[in-house]
Subunit: 203 residues, 2 copies
């Protein structure tokens, strides 16, 4: 019996069994910085909640449970389950009485953001949020420039519709500079995305 | 090797392995009616979404993933995971520009609703939603009277605070009649809880 390497992912305690295959470290730059986009957002949301500024949570990962064992009366162990395609976005909540909803993505490309990273139903979801009076957007982290952008759904959607209609498959960096907003990195909160909403979207 | 009985739960395809123990059917009355509270709410939310009335989703069940296998390159099988205590509520979304947030519970008791069914952080969460300009409530189904009540958090919270301070451990049926609102059961949507918000809470 060979002992395969075990890898700990720091933000959610998941242990990956490699089964004799090497799994690429998905995000070496972020790993070095000790925090990924999800970690930064979770920290920021915790700060917002602790200071009663906004109530925003990450939704749990949708999982299809197939088998549950009950080794003892009050203990349930899930022994077979699969990741499901999410039907909505990662984060939602309330800020200044407004419903807030967004998806967070990291971009490893150097010149553009590939649109296949986003699911069509996520864009549809964000569009309907906007239609109902909420605020929908994407937070996209450019690893190579180390910039965090808030992209409002009304600016993002036309690119996505174009892509679905066999147009451009990505959004170029220049469009980010024109249509999205840079999120300031601070000490507290780490990623102050609500300050962007204050300045540009809630006026 | 004995083949243990396998039970299919109709609303989420979960298979329970009984491991030589019998698991009690949690809700025989609802099972006979072919639909439980979660099923009714999911159907109603689907109707609201399909008709662009409101965008409300059930959040995925929070699960702590411990072990993931990769039998092939693009397939991930979760082989060990546990149910986590939810940190927020089951449902949230947007209706008429308002942030909506609620928890759904079934009550098997005949004369009162036991408050240990609700987690303290869920009540705290609903209170903060209300404080931030959203609408927080509980939907509680009384199995024995076959009634669905919408209990606004501002009416529910004092009972819960009382319970945490070693007061009454439950809310009596009479208080439901005084402080909560009956949700009409219809053909479409099955549980028209938004009509209650229209009538009593959004005015």
């Amino acid at each position: 019996m060979v002992n395969y390497p075990i890898k700990k992912k720091r933000d959610n305690n998941t242990t990956y069994e490699l089964n004799n295959k090497k799994i690429k470290d998905k995000n070496p730059i972020m790993a070095n910085r000790g925090m990924n986009l999800e970690g930064l957002l979770n920290d920021s949301n915790e700060y917002y909640r602790a200071n009663d500024i906004a109530i925003i949570h990450k939704k749990p990962i949708p999982i299809q449970i197939v088998k549950v064992d009950y080794p003892s009366r009050n203990k349930a162990v899930i022994t077979e389950a699969y990741y499901k395609t999410p039907s909505t976005t990662d984060y939602n909540g309330i800020y200044k009485g407004k419903y807030i909803d967004f998806e967070a993505k990291e971009n490893k490309n150097k010149t553009s953001f590939p649109l296949h990273n986003v699911h069509p139903h996520q864009v549809e979801h964000l569009k309907s949020i906007q239609r109902h009076g909420g605020i929908g957007f994407l937070i996209i982290y450019w690893i190579h420039t180390n910039q965090f952008f808030l992209y409002p759904i009304q600016k993002f959607a036309p690119h996505f519709d174009d892509y679905l209609g066999d147009g451009r498959k990505s959004i170029v960096y220049e469009d980010f500079l024109k249509e999205a907003y840079l999120i300031p990195e601070k000490y507290l909160p780490r990623l102050d995305f609500l300050s962007v909403l204050d300045e540009y979207l809630l006026k």
